[in-house]
Symmetry: C2
Subunit: 305 residues, 2 copies
């Protein structure tokens, strides 16, 4: 049961009307009993995506984003602006909206890395940086685009906010209330902590999975290997079918934390290599048993550690 | 439609009556119209497993394996002996059965590594090594033990045979016919090739998956990391819940091929690390796109390479 009375808005501007932005718009528009005018403006580079969003009723007004006067008009009187374009565009988008941000407008984002977004916010928003509350909804689907947007995409999912010292408690509370109104659970941590956590449990596994397919592709008996690959390979490499552009951007944006996790992983791998080379079955079994125990009791949202 | 006329037997001895051995016994016993007396003898260290196998009708006679006279009696007149105990026991089992192997008896195994099994066969069987046809059925379930054995476990699955120069074509053909009678497709390759292929697509991914859980467990913010791990982590680490004992044995038995694959993988990872460190988006995207293309078109039994 969601307490929809906790959140109302008059004008929401969604920049990047795909799966993530479209799902927030749908969730907020389709909540029963939400007060306010509930006008949702979509800003997108893709005219086709905008037309699709309008046709689906996800947004009320569409803006291709190239027109400065239209962007200014869209931001006038806006309660909240969500940046949901690819994370590499965040700096450029903040630079464009900065001049037109009114004091009462809050900005948040949906980027899967946070330290780079925070750095861009300080660089582009200057004295207005307190209006920007960095965020990351942990949700996705195999499909993308506004046609895949769901009103309940965030229901039961986690949203991480990484508040800045310049954010007022009211600003953070309002963005948190917006996400709670979609059915999500909201957590707070620092952007550095966020980036370490997701480097470890998401970004690194993607790199490791891409790397295995790349290694097999480059080996002399690649065809034979692929043809005998089975269930373990299938699950391990499912994420190697992810978007190359998105993961390129994530790896670059979060490279500091990702390299730390990658180096820590390589140290574990070197230790395992030495144990294999020495035929040290006891050490291998101890590590495998520890991992198995942790992985067997793990469930999404829980920790065996 | 399986041509069951291609395979008949009088006496099958299964050493290790778990999922793998039990499923072969069930498949062969439950084929309609197979000729011969179809007596299946189960040999097992676990009295409970033997009693369970008898109760399920998987085997006709049970032998705990400690009694030499009983083992000799079991092997007398045996058509085929399948070694389906943990692969680390293969050498000791071959040594025990060697004195009692009659010239007409064929021996095969189900071990997931082959070079070590072949070395044990030469060491333990001596002049009788031609009676041993090394094999590896590529099948498994999350559950183990004879209670999980299925008559159709091998239906549509692959079985790899790694014939020895000492094997006659008739011996290889008879073991192949046995597996085909279970519905499996039989392939032949050298044991070295087998071990390289499975090191790459099975053994290495298991090591990499165990290593990720081990790394997170050892990090200062392990609990936070596990609690935000989601679908990518879940799939990548599913195989980290595998049997520590089995994977210890596989890593030790196949360490030569596994270390080669691990070193090749580490080289790919070092290349990716350099690209991440240099923020070389173009190189990262090229590698990710190659992997994604290959993984997207891959299906079990096919090759995109």
């Amino acid at each position: 049961m969601i307490d929809v009375a906790m959140f109302s808005f008059n004008k929401l501007v969604v920049i990047g009307v795909g799966l993530i932005g479209g799902s927030l718009a749908r969730a907020l528009r389709e909540q029963p009993g939400i007060g306010g005018a509930r006008c949702v403006i979509g800003v997108e580079r893709s005219a086709a995506a905008l037309a699709h969003a309008l046709a689906l009723g996800v947004i009320d007004e569409a803006l291709t984003g190239a027109d400065e006067a239209a962007l200014r008009a869209a931001l006038t009187g806006a309660d909240i602006v969500l940046l949901a374009a690819p994370v590499a565009q965040t700096g450029a988008l903040l630079e464009r909206i900065a001049p037109w941000l009114e004091p009462a407008t809050l900005v948040t984002d949906a980027g899967s890395t946070k330290s780079d977004v925070v750095a861009a916010a300080y660089a582009m928003l200057g004295a207005k940086v307190g209006q920007f509350v960095p965020g990351h909804p942990i949700a996705g689907r195999e499909t993308s685009g506004v046609g895949a947007a769901l009103a309940d995409l965030y229901s039961g999912r986690n949203v991480v906010l990484c508040p800045l010292p310049e954010n007022t408690p009211e600003a953070v509370g309002r963005i948190a209330a917006m996400w709670r109104a979609t059915g999500a659970t909201v957590h707070e941590m620092s952007s550095a902590q966020h980036d370490r956590v997701f480097a470890a449990v998401s970004h690194l596994p993607h790199v490791l999975s891409f790397a295995l397919v790349e290694q097999i592709l480059g080996s002399p008996d690649a065809a034979l290997k692929f043809s005998f690959a089975a269930g373990g390979f299938r699950d391990f490499t499912r994420i190697a079918a992810s978007s190359p552009e998105m993961w390129r951007d994530v790896c670059v944006a979060n490279r500091t934390a990702l390299l730390e996790e990658l180096d820590a992983y390589s140290a574990v791998l070197a230790h395992l290599r030495a144990a294999i080379d020495a035929a040290d079955g006891a050490e291998l079994e101890a590590i495998f048993a520890r991992s198995r125990e942790a992985r067997s009791v793990w469930q999404p949202g829980s920790s065996p550690a």
